[in-house]
Symmetry: C2
Subunit: 569 residues, 2 copies
């Protein structure tokens, strides 16, 4: 397949791209990849095929044909559901992947916008076709439940990738490839100049993966960089390699078929004892870094890679403010799901719930702080009382560090709801914990709730009043960052005040969620994930700012009319 044949991929997927381009402008509901793991959508055998493919990968070397540095093998993933995966990956060096990526760059750059876009859309299509396989790889690296792993790790992640491609295509296509510029010269003939504009990449891009949402958080940067012409080195989290390794293999296959160097997308695996990301991200060839993970390393990357554009999504202290609110039951039901979903291991899960110490007015009269806290805890109890639902929502605890935090949470304050260990019916070794809910005092426990306590730990914080709650939200978000904020309030004036605080401190706000939308959900093509306006992240997924600096435009001017200049001045 040649570059112009690669452009036929662009035509093949043009309707999908047009849909995405329209969606990022309207930001109404739209999705390219069905979130339902239904046979009607994905085919009769898709589920069984995906499971079989996953089973075949376990305990075996993961092959990447033609990948640099093959020979030695690395990798030691263990499923949060119990068994070690036993998958080994080619061990490559930073030198080797950067040399291969640099060599692959020129032909990819010169292929042009349409060819690159077509190839990236085809990669997404093939990833989508393997959504069930991805679901198992995501489930058994992150600890997500199967349905969540399918949706968030599959179609939702694919939508986020497509969204990034759409923004990048829109940004590149905004400048024409050629224009004839004609400047009037009074009575003289006009100046006529042919101008050509070419988008060129910045260099090599690094994607530093996260252990909880390797594809959902990894795809935006990966596709934004690749479609704008930058070869991509994927460095997964050592605990969640397989979903990104599978991504890399699919991408390399499409690239090779389309006549490009598969080393445009490479895999760099390290382990926790010998991390390689600092070495990679500070190399002069690396001009773009996309990172999702903890705040300490994210801040380090922001400050120590001046040669690169660094995009980070880090940690934060997400907040809920509860004011007088009639539908306490709806609120509690909605929050019980929010606190339970993936055991609080989402960067969008609220940590701090600010409640006036004097209580709130509800449809059933004034409820004290303790009564509100008890209602929230009881709602979690009730929600998790159905074991099928509990296991389908909680998933498993991804890391030892998160397990440690939830086990030590009781020492942080007054326990309102104790975290409990559950035994998974299908995976007896899975580490499953229900949320801990701890009551704190807004003033005395400032340090406790001001820091991130990642995992199934909710702080219920007694404040002076809602004004104090909003002040605490402002202060904690300004210092510690946040990706989400939520408010429950019947008073329109309180809603406006909360909105003003959130706009000032730069965090997205969800108001009075009692139905089927949850604060920790973020829909591609409509919701911006993170804002880039507070310490939790320096960029949003995905907007024009996320893509605009991944390429540059180089102009060539050639006069059409080479008449001598008689009046030079």
């Amino acid at each position: 397949m040649t570059a112009s044949a690669a452009e036929t991929l662009f035509e093949t997927h043009k309707a999908q791209l047009d849909g995405a381009l329209s969606a990022i402008r309207s930001r109404g509901y739209w999705s390219a990849f069905p979130e339902s793991p239904s046979k009607r959508v994905y085919g009769e055998t898709a589920a069984a095929d995906g499971l079989a493919a996953f089973e075949a990968m376990k305990g075996a070397p993961f092959e990447l044909s033609g990948h640099p540095g093959a020979g030695m093998r690395v990798g030691g993933e263990v499923s949060p559901y119990g068994p070690a995966l036993g998958v080994s990956y080619p061990a490559a060096t930073v030198d080797a992947v950067l040399a291969a990526a640099t060599a692959a760059l020129p032909a990819w750059r010169d292929a042009g916008v349409k060819a690159r876009t077509g190839v990236c859309l085809e990669i997404l299509k093939r990833i989508n076709a393997q959504s069930f396989t991805f679901a198992h790889t995501v489930m058994h690296t992150t600890g997500q439940s199967f349905v969540m792993a399918f949706q968030a790790g599959g179609p939702h992640a694919q939508d986020r990738g497509l969204e990034a491609i759409a923004y990048a295509y829109d940004a590149m296509a905004a400048t024409p490839e050629h224009v004839r510029w004609e400047k009037p010269q009074g009575k003289n003939p006009p100046l006529v100049i042919d101008k050509y504009f070419k988008t060129v990449p910045r260099g090599v891009a690094a994607v530093i993966g996260v252990s909880t949402f390797p594809t959902w958080n990894g795809f935006p940067g990966l596709f934004a960089s690749l479609v704008t012409g930058n070869p991509v080195v994927v460095k997964p989290h050592p605990a969640a390699i397989l979903p990104l390794a599978l991504t890399v293999r699919i991408a390399r296959g499409v690239l090779a078929e389309a006549g490009f160097d598969p080393n445009l997308v490479t895999l760099l695996v390290d382990d926790a004892d010998d991390p390689i990301a600092k070495d990679l991200c500070t190399r002069p060839e690396v001009r773009i870094v996309d990172f999702t993970g903890g705040g300490a390393f994210g801040n380090w990357l922001e400050e120590n890679c001046p040669q690169a554009q660094v995009y980070t999504e880090k940690s934060g202290v997400n907040a809920v403010v509860i004011d007088d609110f009639a539908d306490l039951k709806g609120m509690a039901r909605n929050l019980s799901y929010t606190f339970s979903l993936y055991s609080g291991q989402m960067c969008t899960t609220p940590q701090n719930v600010f409640i006036p110490k004097s209580g709130i007015k509800t449809a059933d009269g004034v409820m004290s702080f303790d009564a509100v806290a008890a209602a929230l805890a009881a709602s979690v109890d009730k929600f998790l009382s159905d074991p099928d639902r509990a296991f389908a929502v909680l998933g498993a605890i991804q890391s030892k560090a998160t397990l440690d935090r939830v086990e030590k949470a009781a020492a942080l304050g007054r326990t309102v709801r104790r975290s409990a260990a559950l035994t998974h019916p299908d995976f007896p070794d899975a580490v499953v914990r229900t949320p801990a809910m701890i009551a704190l005092d807004a003033e005395a426990d400032r340090e406790t709730y001001g820091a991130e306590c990642f995992g199934p730990v909710t702080f219920l914080i007694a404040t002076e009043d809602t004004g104090d709650s909003l002040a605490r939200l402002r202060e904690t978000v300004a210092e510690g960052g946040a990706i989400t904020a939520a408010l429950y309030a019947d008073d329109a004036a309180v809603i406006e005040r909360a909105r003003a605080v959130c706009e000032e401190v730069g965090v997205a706000l969800s108001v009075n969620l009692t139905g089927g939308l949850f604060v920790n959900q973020s829909a591609a093509f409509s919701d911006f994930h993170a804002t880039g306006a507070n310490p939790a992240a320096n960029a949003a997924l995905t907007d024009a700012a996320f893509v605009a600096n991944r390429f540059r435009v180089i102009e060539t001017r050639i006069p059409v009319d080479e008449e001598p200049a008689e009046t030079a001045a």
Copy 2:
């Protein structure tokens, strides 16, 4: 005037904005502000009024009503044409302007995109009406000739400001302010969510002015930051304060009339002995920096302001490559203007002319390196032999440092054309010098031509052949940066090779200019000024990347349908 009245300014200027929005998409010829200083355009008395206004400013305190820190006064500009200007400015402290700017931010942010855009367009309109006044202030701070000061310092700078406003408006308007999101839920009623998107600024913006093109290089950052909601602190170069002080005064007047705090635009004047830019740009409140000037300080800013988005346009070693080219006369005539214009004090002026040591083929047969060099020198001689034209093109030398460089240029190599001092008929104290042209060897003199020698000094560099010339271009631009490159070649294959080299090294290329377009010209709405892809600049004027990170979008979600969620998972 209220915020909604400010929005009427948006309607007033909407046709102009629409023209600009169309132009940045097509990048064909378009201009909003006429470049001709004609009475038919600017009015019968505009020229006399502008001169009178300038004369009235000289030797007097420059008033900025309500500006923070008034009391002490500073400023010591001296015209490159001779006389001290004698203008003094309010002395403000960094603390005072940042406190005032921070206090002014919320109302400006909350006014919304249309109100801010309307106000910025009105500021530009009023600046345009004072184009003659600006011309004199630019002439007598930068040393540009009057006509150049009028065009580059007036309408061309205004066009660049409008271009930045258009890109920023386009970026902000790309996200709707409100959408109703409806997600189908199978047989159940859809999820219906109202989503509101608000653009918020990053914080306070700093504009660090340059001595040679204070308005042309200053307006893009100033207007891009202001229209996206960021208060702007303008810190002019101590040698070129007046054009930006006048800009600040006009902006403050429009802001106050529209009901906003005039401290949204403030002036911070320092002097060369006590520079204040480092203190300003490293302050936590400052979240955007736009800098034009030397490479050393630009690099310092890029590396030492992690809290800010830093946009730089620095120095470089612009190159011309000459291959076999029939129309030697046309080339020499075109380059004679290019080398003479503003005495080489443009960031777009070529410094290094690479010519094969064995000479080139022309319509008149093979010409040796020395013959080509002599032809270029003779063309400069001829071009400057008309004194009126010479003074109208050369202008005056802006700084002592530039004068030193041209006076010492002869020591750098073999003189092909000696720089001469000219006595300006109207300004006997003006420092006027014609270009020095120095022959160098590509290998032996690598260090000499690899560094920037800003001013009227042209290096004619003998290379092995055009392949070597292109390699030298690549090497010098990769290390030292460049804003322009030019090629003269009849062979289409050579043109393609040069284009590939320039695309790789990230510099714009002009090919075979022999007529009325000159390599050092850059037209708003069509040419990108700098690329951001080599060390000369980390951004281009103006593209989407220049504006996208100056604001963030904060989302608020509110369910329309508050039906209870029955099937939470």
